[in-house]
Every structure is written in structure tokens, then in C-alpha cells.
Symmetry: C2
Subunit: 316 residues, 2 copies
């Protein structure tokens, strides 16, 4: 399993040769270290949390890429494409199990508290993926349902990351909960940006195919916001996507690029793109506000704000 | 996900109608309740352990059936056959996450101790499945390697089941470790019997295909013990199985029933069947011996022995 995990993390290529591929943005572990500092602890106090969150995140990537049939991640073939579905399942399971072991490796009181937060975040993450998959087969999804799904799928793990260092550093519940709220709303901002990139992102930056989310019939925020709008573009989009749901996967994969481009254009015209960009900003503001209620070292507050800035302006 | 889980547990059929299908032998939860009694606690003290172990066991069944391509379990189509691979992955993940949440739902000291045992057992379980899959593609596997694999794949979770009730009941390490050893060796006896049933089990009892393990080229105990033996049957078997490893899955699936029957016959002739039956007995004896070192209520000791008797004489 080491080889498969090392491939996934970008440390070796498909032939097992050392490589220096893109290993991801490391937003979650960065948050876990800042979180320890927020509680007045040394950043290294957050390391078990940083490792655990990165393991759970990568467990979910391994399984989600297989479930979604995604062939590319970070400009490279996904694990199931290179090493087969069984290895993607197995190594995902192993990373998930390892996360629990690592977070429990401390004194009993801290370990139990940290592990409960990890278990709850993991369950929400899995619920979110289940909702995401279910939505692909539904004709209509409301904006509220989509936000609830994204809160589970992305918000919960960022909330864990943002609070776990403080928990390991012995913070009280008020501080841990404020950091949790910051992380949850930052996660929603992050996902809104991801949803924009999933349709209009430059494949050279994202490492994914063009119109990636549209190819999978994802009911992401720009899509549901556009479908919820009034006017001819929204009506035309709704008619197209409602018909899409009834198509077989094979029929859908034979689509011409122009078909996806037309859908993307309608989403934009109906206001889904603009609404999602505004939503990213709204969630960013709530995240920053959540930090106002607690006392933090000035440097940590600045870094948490900078990290939030990075999340909303990124191109990959 | 509820529907998929309920189908897997045998509570509803593929159409969602209530049913009363075989839900499994429930050896693991029975052990967890007896384990609480062993520590002088009420059996219900072991309930979170019983639930957690059953969840982890069923997580592994959902994923393993998919990885192994098994189409039948307990006389019914497996989850991935009925609901698709994505649901088998997702619901497995959800059961695994839920197990952690349940075991952590107590006071901090007990919760952390119990969760550490669960995390370690889960990691070993996954390691065992990885070894099992790897062995299918290897020409030779030693008996020691096979026992190590089965100790991970089956022994670790039975060790957890047999000790978790006592841990939740506040037992000291000496008692928990003796129960752990009992469970681990009972697991090895259990797996030896499973390996016999995997080749010679009656499909009407096991709910699996005839020669089930041979169809998957499993390097189970009867196979590796036979290959390690001297004489013409062992040599003939080794030549056949070495050639089998090089075949594609499709070539292999086209095999005639007689081909599997011939392999089973050679395994028997080379002594693999007898050796495995003896090994089940040896492991049973070590399991019972492990209980001798500790003080237990007489009724609990008797029940733990009866459960071990059931494990080695079962036909499914």
C-alpha cells in the first residue's frame, strides 16, 4: 500500500520513480498548525491534527475519484486509473484508519476530545459525498440543499482543521467553537470557489478536464443557483439539465464540447456564476467575523485572514 | 445510505420490502457482551463495543466483496451487485466512521482506551486484506505469511471483540490482554474453518459459490499448506497454481468446474485439508489456554468455551 499512497501524494510516479508532483494546497494542515497558535500553543502541538486531517482528506479524494469516475487529479492520472479500483478503496481505508490512530496518540482527555471531533467531521464528510452523488440523479436541488451538502462535504473537515490544534493545545470550548465556525464558513467559501473552478477553471491550473463538474452532472452551487433564477436562460438551462438526468452515462459522455459550453453559458447568463462568487464572499465575511468574538494573538489572526484570502482568490 | 445498509444487513430486499434474511452469525457482538461479563460488568456495558465491532466487520465485508468481485454473500446478491460500486464504498465508509463515533461515546479515559484498540484492530484488518489481495498475484506464499495475514484479517477484530467489553467495564490490562489473546487465536481457528468452507463448504450452507476461494485464486491455508508439502500431489498442485497466477481474470473465469474440483482434490491429497483442520484445533486450544491465566466468572468461562466450540464446528 505504501507505493500506492506515495503515488497519490505525488512523491513517486506510476513507475515508482521519485518525482516532485503537486501534492495539493495543504490548506487543511496549515489551518491545524495556526489553530494551535490560536490557543497560545506552539504550532507543533497541532501536528497530529494536521496529519489526521490530511489523511482523512486524502482518504476522501481516493474514494471520491473512484466513485465519481474522475480520471485526473493535480495533472496526473488518479490512483484507480493507475493502480486499479481495489487499491484505491484499500489505501483510502488505510489512510482513514491511520488518522484515528494518530489523533488518539496523546493523553486520554485530549485524545478522546480530538477523536470525537474527527469522527463527527468524517461522518459529515461521508454524508456530504452521499448527498453530492444523490443530487446528480435528481432533477431539482434547492440552493439550501446544495449549501447543506457542501457544509458536510467541505465545511466539516475545514472546521475540524481550524479547531483541532486549539483542542490539542487545551483551548476552552468557546475558542474551539469560534475556530470551528471560522473553518466551516471558510470551507463553504472554499467550495463555492471550487464550484466556479469546476466549470470555468483553466484545465492548465486545475489539473482537471474542462467543464469538469458539468461532465459529471454535479448539482453544484452555480448550477442550482441558476436553475432557481427567473427568466429565459434559467428556463432553457432547467429544460436541458432535466433531460440530461435521464440520459445514460455513455450517452452523456459522448457529448460534444459545445454542449457543455452551452450549459456553462446559460448558467452564467442566468446569474449562477455571479451568485456563487458573491456567496464565496459572504461566507468569507462570516468566517472572518467568527474570529472577532475571541481573543487571538495578533499574528495568528492576521495569518488566518491571509489564509482565507488565499482560499477565495485561488485559481486551482 | 440507510436503504443500502438495511439491504446489506438483511433487513430489506433489493426492492426495499421488509425481509428476514440471514444477517450473519453475530460472533463478534456476542464476544463483546461476554467480554463485559468477564470483567464482572453487566453485558450491556459491552454494547458500544458490540455495535462498533459489527460496524467495522460489515464495513470490511462491503469493501472486500467489491474488491474481490464477490457476487454472493449469505445467499443474496452483494451490495455492489444490487446498488452499484459507489454505494458499496460509501456505505462501507459510513459504517466505519460510525464505529468510531459510537466507541468514543463514553467518559474520556475509557473512550480513548477503547478507541485506540478499535483503531489498531481496524488498521490490522485493512493490512490483512491488502496482504490477501497481494497473495493472489504471487506464485508462492509461505504458511507463516498466510497465518500472519489471517491474524491481521480475522484475528485482530476478534481480539478486539473479545477484549472491548472488559475494557469498557474498566478491566485491568492483564484481563484485557488475556481476552485479546483468546480472541486472536479464536480468530485464527475461525479463519482456518472459513478456509476449509471456502473450498469444501456446501453452497447451500455457505451462501457462496462452490470452490469459492479457488475461483479467486486465494492463497488460503489449505492451499499454502498443500503447496509446502512434499510428494507428487503437492508438485502437481504447485505447477497448476503457478500457471494460474499468470492467467488473466477472464481466462480464469472461463474455467470448467472440473478444473476447480481437480485442484481441490490435489490440495486434499497433498494434506492441505487435514493440516488446516488440525491448525483450527491448535488455535482453539491456544485460545482456551489464554483464559486459564485469569480469574473469570464460571458461567462466562463456560460461554466463551461454548462460543469457541461453535466457531470450530460450524458449517457456514
Amino acid at each position: 500500500m505504501d507505493t500506492v499512497a506515495a503515488y497519490h501524494f505525488g512523491w513517486i510516479d506510476a513507475q515508482g520513480r521519485p518525482t516532485d508532483a503537486d501534492s495539493g494546497k495543504a490548506v487543511r494542515p496549515a489551518l491545524a498548525l495556526l489553530s494551535a497558535e490560536a490557543a497560545g500553543a506552539a504550532p507543533e502541538v497541532g501536528v497530529p491534527g494536521a496529519v489526521a486531517v490530511e489523511l482523512v482528506h486524502n482518504f476522501s479524494l481516493l474514494h471520491d475519484d473512484l466513485m465519481d469516475g474522475d480520471e485526473q487529479r493535480r495533472h496526473r492520472d488518479t490512483v484507480w486509473k493507475v493502480h486499479g479500483p481495489a487499491q484505491a478503496i484499500l489505501v483510502g481505508d488505510a489512510l482513514f484508519a491511520l488518522a484515528s490512530e494518530i489523533i488518539l496518540d496523546g493523553d486520554d482527555a485530549h485524545a478522546a476530545r480530538a477523536a470525537r471531533r474527527l469522527a463527527a467531521a468524517s461522518r459529515q464528510l461521508i454524508d456530504g459525498q452521499a448527498q453530492d452523488i444523490a443530487f446528480e440523479h435528481r432533477e431539482r436541488v434547492t440552493v439550501a440543499e446544495c449549501l447543506a451538502m457542501e457544509g458536510n462535504k467541505t465545511g466539516a473537515l475545514l472546521a475540524f482543521a481550524a479547531s483541532i490544534g486549539a483542542v490539542l493545545g487545551g483551548a476552552d470550548d468557546a475558542l474551539a467553537d469560534a475556530l470551528d465556525a471560522y473553518g466551516r464558513h471558510l470551507g463553504l467559501a472554499f467550495q463555492a470557489v471550487d464550484d466556479l473552478l469546476g466549470i470555468w477553471g483553466d484545465p492548465r491550473s486545475t489539473g482537471k478536464l474542462t467543464w469538469s463538474d458539468l461532465r459529471q452532472r454535479k448539482k453544484s452551487l452555480p448550477v442550482v443557483a441558476a436553475m432557481a433564477a427567473e427568466g429565459p436562460a434559467a428556463a432553457r438551462l432547467t429544460a436541458l439539465l432535466t433531460a440530461d438526468v435521464k440520459k445514460s452515462r455513455e450517452e452523456f459522455e459522448d457529448f460534444d464540447e459545445a454542449e457543455f459550453a452551452a450549459r456553462a453559458e446559460l448558467i452564467d447568463e442566468a446569474g449562477g456564476r455571479r451568485w456563487t462568487a458573491d456567496e464565496a464572499r459572504r461566507q468569507y465575511d462570516i468566517a472572518i467575523d467568527a474570529l472577532e468574538s475571541v481573543t487571538l494573538p495578533a499574528a495568528t489572526r492576521r495569518r488566518l485572514t491571509e489564509l482565507a484570502d488565499f482560499v477565495v482568490v485561488r485559481s486551482k
